[in-house]
């Protein structure tokens, strides 16, 4: 099981801040996970936007990175505090 976190405006689009699920076997990379989630939530490409970065177990990774064995995957729109 993998915990997926939807930060910032993504929680409004998906209707949840997080969920725990089993990633389908045919999804190997973070990029494939994006596409699958975008179709699942019908977010019309919002999760494919390159400004949305992905972190696996608190490490920002590229779309080519493997999601295999990940405990926690975060989808992170542009950040900023202050």
């Amino acid at each position: 099981m993998t915990k997926i976190l939807y930060f910032g405006r993504l929680s409004d689009l998906t209707g949840k801040t997080d969920e725990t699920l089993t990633i389908p076997h045919d999804i190997e990379s973070a990029g494939q996970l994006r596409t699958w989630l975008d179709e699942r939530f019908e977010t019309d490409g919002a999760l494919l936007d390159p400004t949305v970065r992905i972190a696996i177990d608190s490490e920002i990774i590229l779309d080519t990175a493997s999601v295999h064995g990940a405990d926690e995957i975060a989808l992170m729109p542009p950040v900023g505090g202050g």
């Binding site: 976190l5 930060f7 910032g8 405006r9 409004d12 972190a55 608190s58 975060a74 992170m76 729109p77 542009p78 950040v79 900023g80 505090g81 202050g82």
Partner: protein
């Protein structure tokens, strides 16, 4: 020294505590960011700050380390609030202390640019007309880029 917390920030008390820790310094610069009362979409009713621990803390800590590498600082302090807050409340407090003022001014500026554009926070503003997630403005990114350009020059 870094603190990310949902507790209210008392900037005046933070400054007094910081002064007591920075007795070797000749100059102290502080910056407080507060929740503004009015946004483009109307009167602000509340602001919500979301963090992702420990990524948020690790990133700010790395920026503090970077500031110490670039400037000769005696002390630094960053306090950042999370959760829900009201107009007028302090969101962020940054203090830098150095032997001479220039290092303190520049390091505080550098840390604030990091906090505005790279620190792992998401910010939602509730106004009388609805809610908006606030992302950095183009000006915030160009401010932050000043430090990269300087390094490349």
């Amino acid at each position: 020294m870094l603190l990310v917390s949902s507790d209210p920030i008392d900037a005046a008390a933070e400054l007094r505590a910081f002064e007591a820790m920075a007795l070797q310094a000749g100059g102290i610069v502080t910056f407080s960011g507060q929740v503004r009362e009015a946004a483009a979409s109307g009167q602000v009713t509340s602001l919500y700050l979301q963090a992702y621990s420990p990524m948020t803390e690790n990133g700010i800590q790395a920026a503090i380390t970077e500031a110490n590498a670039r400037w000769d600082l005696e002390q630094t302090r960053v306090v950042h609030r999370t959760g829900a807050m009201q107009p007028g409340e302090t969101i962020v407090f940054v203090a830098t202390a150095a032997k001479h003022r220039r290092a303190a001014f520049e390091a505080a500026d550098f840390l604030m640019d990091y906090l505005k554009t790279e620190a792992v926070f998401w910010k939602k503003e509730d106004t009388e007309t609805g809610s908006n997630w606030i992302e950095p403005r183009a000006a915030d990114y160009s401010d932050a880029n000043r430090w990269t350009k300087k390094e490349d020059a």
